[in-house]
C-alpha cells in the first residue's frame, strides 16, 4: 500500500464556471465523492483551500522575497485542494482521480507521498521530523 496525493488544479476560467454551481449542489457533489472514498476505506486526509483572491504570493526570484496579494496573475493554474488516499497502486490512485467530480473543468495531479521511512534514518533532521510525526500522529 502506498499513499498518493490527488491535487486539484484549476484555471481562472474553470473557477468562474464553478461559480455557476450552487453551494449546496457543490457540497452534495463533492460529498458523494468523499463518501465513496470513505466507504472504500482508502481516504486518509483531504483539505480544500479558500478563495485564491484571499491568498498571498511570496516570490523568491529576486534578491529579497517580494510579497504580492493574490490572485496570482502569473500562474495559469491554481492549486485548489488535495486528497491523500492509501491504495495498492498508482493505477488505483488514477482510477480514483478519474472519478473525482470535475466542477467546471480543471485538472487533478497524482503524486506519490513518500513515507519518512524512505529517508536516511540516521540523518539528524529526519530523526527530528520523525519525532514530530510520532508526537502528532502523522507517521
Amino acid at each position: 500500500m502506498a499513499k498518493y496525493m490527488m491535487i486539484m488544479r484549476s484555471t481562472d476560467e474553470d473557477l468562474a464556471k464553478m461559480a455557476d454551481i450552487s453551494f449546496d449542489e457543490m457540497l452534495a457533489i463533492v460529498g458523494r465523492f468523499n463518501e465513496e472514498l470513505i466507504q472504500a476505506g482508502v481516504l486518509v486526509a483531504a483539505e480544500g483551500l479558500d478563495d485564491p483572491a484571499q491568498g498571498v504570493v511570496v516570490d523568491f526570484s529576486g534578491e529579497t522575497p517580494v510579497v504580492t496579494d493574490g490572485p496570482y496573475g502569473e500562474t495559469k493554474e491554481l492549486f485548489g485542494g488535495f486528497y491523500i488516499i492509501e491504495v495498492a497502486s498508482k493505477e488505483e490512485a488514477v482510477e480514483w482521480a478519474r472519478r473525482m467530480p470535475s466542477l467546471g473543468g480543471g485538472k487533478c495531479e497524482i503524486r506519490r507521498v513518500p513515507s519518512v521511512d524512505e529517508f536516511p534514518q540516521d540523518n539528524e533532521w529526519i530523526a527530528r521530523e520523525r519525532a514530530w510525526r510520532e508526537r502528532t500522529g502523522q507517521l
Partner: protein, 452 residues
Amino acid sequence: MPAAVDGPPGAGGSAAAGGGGGDRGAEPVRRAVEAVWRIESARIVSTLARYTGDFALAEDVAQEAIAEALASWPRAGIPASPAGWLLTAARRRAVDSFRRRSALDERYALLAGPLVEGEAISGAPAPRNRPEDDLPWDPDRVDDDVLALMFMACHQVLAPEARVALTLRAVGGLSSEEIARAFLVPVPTVQARITRAKKTIAAAKVPFELPPAEERRTRLGGVLSVLYVIFTEGSTATSGDSLLRPDLAHEAIRLARMLAALLPDEPEVHGLLALCELTAARFPARTGPDGEAVLLADQDRRRWDRSAIRRGLAALGRATAAGRGLGPYGLQAAIAGCHSTAPSTAETDWERIVLLYEALGRVAPSPVVELNRAVAVAMANGPQAALAIVDELVATDRLAGSHLLPSVRGELLARLGRTEQARAELELAARQCRNLRERAVLLRKAAALPPA
C-alpha cells in the same frame, strides 16, 4: 469522464484524449483493469448477483468481463466509465447464458430489458440528468447488495478457506494469483476453492439476500471472523519465512472499513476494525532489520503508527458508544488499546488488561485467551500466579501441539529461575512452531538462558 494520460503535463501526447487513443501496452492495461476491479468488484458482482439471482453465474460473467476488458482495452482505450463497461459486458454474457439455458424465461426478459432499451454494448449508460444516474447501479440498493455479497461469501455452508478466497476475490477484487501469493498456495488451489465454493452455494440454494433478522447476528459473526482470519494471516503468517504480510492485513482493514461504513450501528464491526488498526499500528516495530520478530516488550514504541492508533481508538470509541457492552473483538481491541497508549511495558495498565481478558474469557472462552490472561497476570502479579493458570491449561490438554503454551511456560519458568525446565519448554515450543522467524526467536531465548 476524464481520460488518463501518463506523465507530466505537456509531456504526454494527445493520443488518449477522450478515452480512445492508440495502442496501449498489455501491462499498463492489466494494471488499470486490476485497479478498477479492486474498486468495483463488490458492486459489480453484487449488482449482477441480484439481477441474475445466481451468484455463481454473476461471478463467472464478471470474470469473463475482466478477460474481455484485458483483450479489448489495449486497442480501444480505457472506456470513460470502466465500471459501466464491465457491468454491461458481464450483463451481456449473463443474458447469453440465460438465452442458452432457456429461451424466454422471466429473468431473461428482465435482463435483456435495459440492453434493448439502448444501453450501448461497449459503453456506459447514456448520460442523464442527476449525477447518481451516471452510476451503472442503483444507488439506493447497491449498499445492501454489497452487504448481501459479503454475507454470501462468508456463508457457513462454505469451508473456511473457501470463505476467505471468495471474500478476497468477489468483495476485495483480488485476482486468484494475488490470493495465491498472499496465502503461499498454488494458483490452481485457489481457483479450485472458488469453483467448489460456487457449486456449494448453488447446491445449497443459498439465496442472494440480506439474512433475515433472526439470523443476522450469527451471520455477521461469520463475516467478521472471515475478515479476522484474513487479518491474522497477514499479521502473523502461520507459515513461510516472513513474519508479516502487511498487504494482506491491509486488505482485511479495507474490507472492515467497508463493512463499518455499511453497518455503522454494529459495535462489533467497529470493534474488529479497531482491533485490526491497533494491531497493524505495531507492524513497523514488530520486525527487526533482518526480518526477525521483535516482542512487544522490546519494541521501539516510537515506531508505532500513531495515525493508525488514533483511527483504532476512534473505532473503539464507536464500539463502546453503542452502549451494549463490548463483544470479543471490542474487548481484544480494548486490550490492544491499553498497549497502544502505554509508554512502556512497565507502565502498562496490566490490572486493566487482566480484567479485560477475564471479560473476554466469559464472552468467548478459549484456551488462547486463558493463556494470554496468564501472560497479563504474570505482568500484574508475578510469574508464580501465572504459572498456575498455564499448568491448568497443560493439565486439561486444551492447547496440545501449539507452540504458544510451551513458549509462555518456558518464559515463566525462566523468570522463576527454573532454567533447565525453561530450556526444555522453549525448545519444545521451537519444534512446534511453523513460522521460521518465530522459531528463531524461541531458539535464541533458549540459548540465552544461563547454563545449568
